[in-house]
């Protein structure tokens, strides 16, 4: 790579950090207002009690737990994809990894808020933490909620490290390029990086270890989230498929979230030279596989329930299939399978626009899936005497909207302080073929293949 090319990379990727338009301030003000409204709604809920939300006997979990599972699912985009792509040494990964890892960290932070938001007495949430107290009371380690605490905190620590490690050389670059107080801040963050051979070796080794370690952690996190449901004898929750079903759904919605984020970054930060159609094409193929996997899991989950024909489970089954929740159920099927499947499987449609359309419906569909797991089962438990229905209240809707705004806000702010594409990794190697293989190239490859002895 020539010096000129490297300077172009520096200029392109550091531009968002150095120049800020008025649109950015407007966006931050707009999103910040929504987030503040959500915070006010939460304070209102704490003040008057959780009765201001729509949850009711016997539906004790609803929007907040839906959001919790959804955001933890979105968090599987980054670390898992990035770790796998690093481990298999896919060269096209280079511009993709950081924007994926950032999603993980922020989605996890937001997701981890929800178990606290939904508590009856949120100010006592620290009782879930095994801290040494004079009363010598520990959390109940038989409870999946206690496992949640360990799983999420481990994943958050790991994914933050995983995001931070490959950013160190970029922080060093920023330290050397900027002046004033920003130079000092990036100097601290760069941890004295000088780019010596020894430092490069250590960084590579550390990233390799993290990439290997983070994959089982990520899988365990969503399995444990699924245990929140499957460990209790509630019809349709008590299912053995929930572990893989949740992990598959998490990766599914995670990739969709990543594709949307990449498309927005590409447009807003003018990264057309770095995020190519081939990246969307490859992630689209991955998404296609997850669509099929999701369809299969949903089908077998329903099939085994129908075949088992237990009366309590069939009540929930028909409630979602043709009862009051059926509009949501079939919207979910359309969003998660009927729309994305043809878009992603037909090569001509698997463009950037196509991938973004498919991803948008998938994000909606996956949120509905989480809702349909939580609510219909609780409203249609064993005793018909105590069946109930649920309507979300303004507080819940506002807090939910605020978390989506918070995600975009955190992402936008992060893009202002850290380059969204790993600069040094781009310089290390090329970033894949910028376009899809053309017919002429294909023929050339075939000719080469035939020419070989």
């Amino acid at each position: 790579m020539t010096l000129q090319e490297e300077q172009k990379i520096n200029a392109d990727l550091l531009r968002p950090l150095q120049r800020t338009t008025v649109w950015f301030y407007l966006l931050v003000a707009f999103l910040g207002t929504i987030v503040l409204c959500g915070g006010a709604a939460w304070i209102y809920q704490m003040w008057y009690g959780i009765g201001v939300a729509g949850i009711r006997w016997p539906i004790f979990w609803a929007f907040y737990i839906t959001n919790f599972v959804f955001w933890i699912g979105i968090s599987h985009a980054g670390t898992l994809i990035s770790a796998i792509l690093r481990l298999v040494n896919a060269t096209w990964r280079r511009p993709v990894t950081r924007c994926a890892e950032v999603i993980t960290v922020f989605a996890l932070m937001i997701g981890a808020m929800f178990p606290i938001i939904h508590l009856g007495r949120p100010w006592l949430f620290f009782w879930l933490i095994p801290y040494p107290s004079e009363r010598e009371i520990w959390p109940n380690l038989r409870s999946p909620l206690a496992w949640d605490f360990f799983a999420i905190s481990t994943y958050l620590t790991g994914s933050t490290l995983f995001l931070y490690l490959p950013t160190i050389p970029d922080f060093a670059l920023l330290r050397d390029q900027l002046t004033g107080w920003r130079k000092r801040v990036y100097g601290v963050l760069a941890l004295g990086w000088q780019g010596t051979t020894k430092q490069w070796h250590r960084l590579e080794a550390a990233m390799q270890i993290m990439a290997i370690a983070i994959v089982p952690v990520a899988i365990s996190v969503h399995t444990i989230v699924s245990f929140d449901f499957s460990m209790s004898p509630v019809p349709m929750w008590h299912s053995t498929v929930f572990g893989p079903y949740f992990v598959a759904g998490a990766i599914f919605s995670g990739i969709a979230g990543l594709i949307i984020a990449m498309a927005v970054l590409r447009k807003v930060l003018h990264l057309e030279d770095y995020l190519h159609p081939v990246h969307f094409e490859n992630l689209g193929k991955l998404l296609l596989m997850m669509t099929l996997l999701w369809g299969y899991f949903t089908f077998i989950e329903r099939l085994t329930v129908w075949y088992g024909n237990s009366s309590a489970e069939m009540a929930v089954f028909w409630e979602t299939q043709s009862g009051s929740y059926s509009p949501l159920f079939w919207t979910m099927v359309i969003c998660n399978f009927v729309i994305p499947f043809p878009i992603l499987s037909i090569k001509k449609l698997r463009t950037i626009t196509g991938c973004v359309i498919a991803s948008s419906t998938i994000v909606v569909g996956m949120w509905l899936e989480r809702f349909l797991i939580v609510v219909p089962s609780l409203g249609t438990k064993f005793l018909p005497y105590s069946w109930g229905s649920y309507r979300p209240q303004p507080v819940e809707i506002l807090i939910t909207a605020a978390t989506f705004a918070a995600m975009v806000l955190l992402y936008a702010l992060f893009a202002k302080v850290v380059p969204m594409i790993s600069i040094w990794e781009l310089k290390v190697g090329g970033h894949g073929r910028p376009h899809m293989i053309t017919a002429a190239e294909d023929e050339e490859q075939r000719a080469l293949w035939r020419a070989r002895p």
């Binding site: 959780i50 009711r56 009782w127 004898p233």
Partner: protein, 228 residues
């Protein structure tokens, strides 16, 4: 010998008068929600009388089933509580420590009988309903899950009385509020560890069934079906 408290409910005797519901409410300081709040699912009733209808009009028969906490030996609510607020007492009760509850409501979801209730708001009693509040029972704060305890305050009072008089507890000496107020004696309470107690004998009778026995929760409440 430790006690193992249980109850027998004679469905053939229950007339659905709901005296047990009222008595329980007064004894245990159960909060009053009012019609609007109740319609939103905010009401709490530690014991309820479920009504089921049989047959078509005009040949309709109504059946009543009082449902309170079944005090399961293998209670699904207990292992899921992350803070041990819901736990098994030495005398086999599914005890709930209100101070320790942080309101995850996981126990209430896991309970197949839906007999755990959540305080959606701060408890209020309009005058003069605040006057009969029971000083032996705590008033539960907002955000806390509560439930039937077989009137644990009456159990300890009965045990203390027997100890003070230097004798063994007599069968039927301890009566939870619902049992005491039942005009047809449909509810029988006692020690299942005492083979001679009335509740033991009724629980062993061929009329006895457990509510949703197939779930394996091993409830200590036995429902007695009709005697033919």
């Amino acid at each position: 010998m430790t006690h193992r408290w249980g109850m027998a409910v004679d469905l053939d005797r229950c007339t659905g008068c709901e005296a047990c519901v009222t008595a329980c409410r007064t004894e245990n300081n159960v909060r009053i929600a009012g019609p609007e709040e109740s319609a939103k699912g905010r009401s709490i009733a530690w014991i309820r009388v479920e009504r089921y209808y049989e047959g078509d009009f005009p040949d309709v028969r109504v059946k009543f089933r009082p449902v309170m906490c079944q005090q399961c030996d293998a209670a699904p609510c207990e292992p899921v509580c992350p803070t041990y607020a819901s736990h098994h007492s030495e005398e086999g009760l599914n005890a709930q420590i209100y101070n320790r509850c942080i309101g995850t409501r996981y126990c209430a979801n896991a309970c197949p009988y839906n007999v755990r209730f959540f305080n959606f708001g701060n408890p209020v009693w309009d005058r003069p309903l605040d006057l009969p509040l029971n000083p032996d029972v705590s008033v539960r704060e907002v955000g806390v899950v509560e439930k039937c305890t077989f009137c644990t305050q009456r159990i300890s009072a009965g045990k203390d009385q027997a100890k003070a008089e230097g004798r063994e507890l007599r069968d039927g000496e301890i009566k939870p509020a619902c049992v005491q107020s039942c005009p047809t004696s449909a509810l029988v309470f006692g020690d299942l560890n005492d083979p001679e107690s009335a509740v033991s004998m009724l629980s062993r009778s061929s009329r006895g069934t457990k509510l949703m026995d197939d779930l394996g929760t091993q409830p200590k409440v036995t429902y007695l079906k009709k005697e033919y």
